[in-house]
């Protein structure tokens, strides 16, 4: 598909726009619709669009499969790790009040950190599913 000029242009120039929108949705989950899951899917869409136009080999040079596996595990560990940190600070699991001196600020910090974990995991997993399906063609 990379011989088509329009697709090549759009894929190159829209990739940062989509990624920026994904980050906007991620961090504005407190104030509007959004949050980790939606942002993760949008970010993975950016990469999938690029891979559809330029091919799997180019995309795998940027994001190899092993890196995605580590990213997916890291997101879950961030989420569960925040819960463990709140337990170590003396509260119950995921009791965000303990994360900062002011309970309200603790709630904000807690939500942002776990949504970050969710966003990382979801985008990595969506890309891993795409890689698994797309690489299947080579085995036939």
């Amino acid at each position: 598909m990379k011989h088509n000029l329009i697709l090549r242009f759009i894929a190159k120039y829209f990739f940062p726009v989509i990624a920026l929108f994904a980050l906007y949705v991620q961090f504005h989950g407190d104030y509007g619709p959004g949050g980790g899951f939606q942002a993760g899917v949008i970010l993975s869409v950016a990469f999938i669009f690029y891979a559809l136009v330029f091919g799997m080999k180019t995309t795998e040079q940027v994001l190899p499969f092993g890196v995605l596996r580590i990213l997916a595990s890291t997101g879950v560990l961030i989420y569960a790790g925040t819960g463990v940190v709140t337990m170590l600070m003396g509260g119950n699991f995921l009791d965000y009040d303990t994360l900062s001196l002011h309970p309200l600020q603790g709630q904000h910090i807690g939500i942002i950190v776990i949504e970050l974990g969710v966003g990382i995991t979801v985008s990595a997993v969506m890309l891993m599913i795409f890689y698994a399906f797309a690489n299947r063609e080579n085995h036939d």
Binding site: S73, V84, M87, F93
Partner: protein, 494 residues
């Protein structure tokens, strides 16, 4: 700090371990990590049972939000028993799994296999610990999704279709459960089990509540493999890897029995259960399940399929006990949940050992194996005695309680069906034992040696536990009694 957060650590420790295991290099390291985590969970689960065995209840608020606004983990004797069974079976399966996983799973998938195993453990333990119905649905889906993955890792290609069929039927069951939860949420506005119980009491005659109850019961019955909805179970148990068969057969359906008990007796109440047709339906389907599944088991010629149909029959016993809706009936169900996990765990471990040495589980290829694998054969013999219900084994205790429960309600037909089920199990266990011991080995069969020690020791631990819990019933019966008192089951004498 550990004691304060105990009931939560049981879920969080495997949850932290699962992504770490996915990142480890393939080989023995994921197995070692999973072994440590499951043994840790087993110690935590035994500690938890020792705290609640006298009837006290642990209540833990997630996130510091008190119920009913927040999610609550509420542990009483029944939860602790189910958590102990799940953690115990997982701890016993891991030493067994080392050899079978090496043989059956390709090397580059080993770390992902153990990661999926840990996620299944997280889901099952989470179901046992939680006190919130939507949290229950989420953990149920976590355990179901990971079990679909585990079953699909079997060597033959039929494992894929078995996993697909289980996926479709399991997802329909979980969605029915979700519809039921939505309907009772619409009526009461809360998702906490204790709060639902209080708020449902004045509105029990609304049609929405009855519909929600029907959806919940049918959804859980799909996961339970109750008689007409059991079609996924034989293929799923036959084609999955040996370690997965042991783990899933001994835990997944028992946890579904626990969910049914929790929803029917805690959220709704036993008086409500009596006025719905669900009680008679359970009795009817239980009777059919015992007879049809036992007869189907007799006609199979593959040892894993015989054990799978036998599992369906044993689940039908538990549903019969629930259908009695009396104190003795529910006690019998809880005791059988514990004992059946021990029995089926041992039997599937023996079947896995046979597959490891011989390569197949078809009865035609097993002529005279018993004489070449004496320890495995004796394990099948003793576990088979327990399945039939011979005095001195754990199976006898559960059958005794079932018959007592049926006689107390004067249902002679049910007692007859229970005895008939035992008779059928004699026939199909004898079929296995006869082929293994009394037939001479044909010329085409290669000589096999005994199963390796790492598989024999867990097998014999479960077999000896069968005999121990058949003689010293203090643990199981005490816990079951405490649990039933807390459930609030009321016996009606007709």
């Amino acid at each position: 700090m550990i004691e304060q957060n105990l009931c939560l650590l049981l879920v969080v420790i495997p949850l932290l371990a699962a992504p770490i295991t996915a990142m480890l290099p393939n080989g023995k390291l994921p197995w070692l990590m999973t072994l440590t985590v499951t043994w840790l969970c087993f110690t935590l689960a035994s500690w938890q049972l020792s705290i609640v065995i006298d009837g006290s209840v642990i209540s833990y608020e997630l996130g510091g939000w008190s119920p009913p606004w927040g999610i609550e983990y509420r542990i009483d004797a029944m939860n602790a028993l189910v958590a102990l069974i799940v953690a115990g079976i997982a701890a016993i399966t891991l030493p067994y799994a080392l050899r079978t996983v090496e043989k059956e799973i390709p090397l580059q998938q080993t770390s992902l296999f153990y990661s999926a195993f840990l996620l299944c453990l997280v889901g099952l333990l989470g179901i046992a610990q939680t006190g919130d119905v939507f949290n229950l649905f989420v953990f149920l889906e976590i355990s179901s999704l990971s079990s679909y993955v585990l079953i699909a890792m079997g060597k033959q290609r039929r494992a894929l279709t078995a996993a697909y069929q289980y996926l479709i039927m399991g997802s329909i069951g979980a969605t029915f459960l979700l519809i039921g939860i939505g309907l009772i949420y619409a009526e009461t506005g809360t998702l906490n089990m204790q709060d639902l119980h209080l708020r449902l009491q004045p509105i029990l005659d609304h049609r929405t509540v009855h519909t929600g109850f029907a959806f919940i019961v049918v959804g859980i019955a799909l996961k339970l493999a109750l008689f007409p909805l059991h079609l996924w179970l034989p293929n799923a148990y036959k084609y999955s890897p040996s370690a997965v068969s042991v783990f899933l057969s001994a835990t997944a359906t028992k946890v579904a029995v626990y969910i049914m008990l929790r929803m029917v007796f805690t959220v709704f109440s036993s008086e409500f259960f009596k006025i719905t047709p669900a009680e008679n339906i359970f009795l009817l389907l239980g009777v059919f399940g015992v007879i049809v599944a036992s007869i189907a088991a007799i006609y199979q010629n593959d040892i894993k399929r015989i054990l799978a149909y036998s599992s369906i029959a044993q689940i039908s016993y538990m549903v019969l006990g629930m259908g009695q809706a009396s104190v003795l009936g529910v006690t019998a169900t809880l005791v059988h949940v514990f004992n059946h996990a021990l029995m089926k765990g041992a039997l599937f471990m023996a079947a896995g050992a046979i597959v490891y040495r011989v390569g197949t589980s078809k009865l035609d290829s097993l002529n005279g194996i018993g004489r070449q694998m004496p320890w495995t054969f004796t394990a099948i013999f003793i576990a088979g005695l327990s399945l039939i219900g011979i005095p001195g084994t754990a199976g006898f205790i559960s059958k005794w309680y079932f018959i007592l429960a049926a006689l107390e309600q004067q249902s002679w037909l049910i007692a007859l069906v229970i005895l008939l089920g035992s008779l059928f199990s004699v026939v199909y266990m004898w079929k296995i034992l006869e082929v293994m011991f009394f037939r001479p080995a044909t010329e085409t069969d290669l000589p096999v040696s005994e199963a390796p020690l790492s598989m024999l020791i867990p097998m014999w631990t479960l077999v000896l536990a069968n005999i121990y819990f058949g003689i010293n019933t203090e643990l199981t019966v005490n816990v079951a009694d405490t649990a039933v008192k807390l459930l609030g089951v009321v016996t009606y004498h007709e």
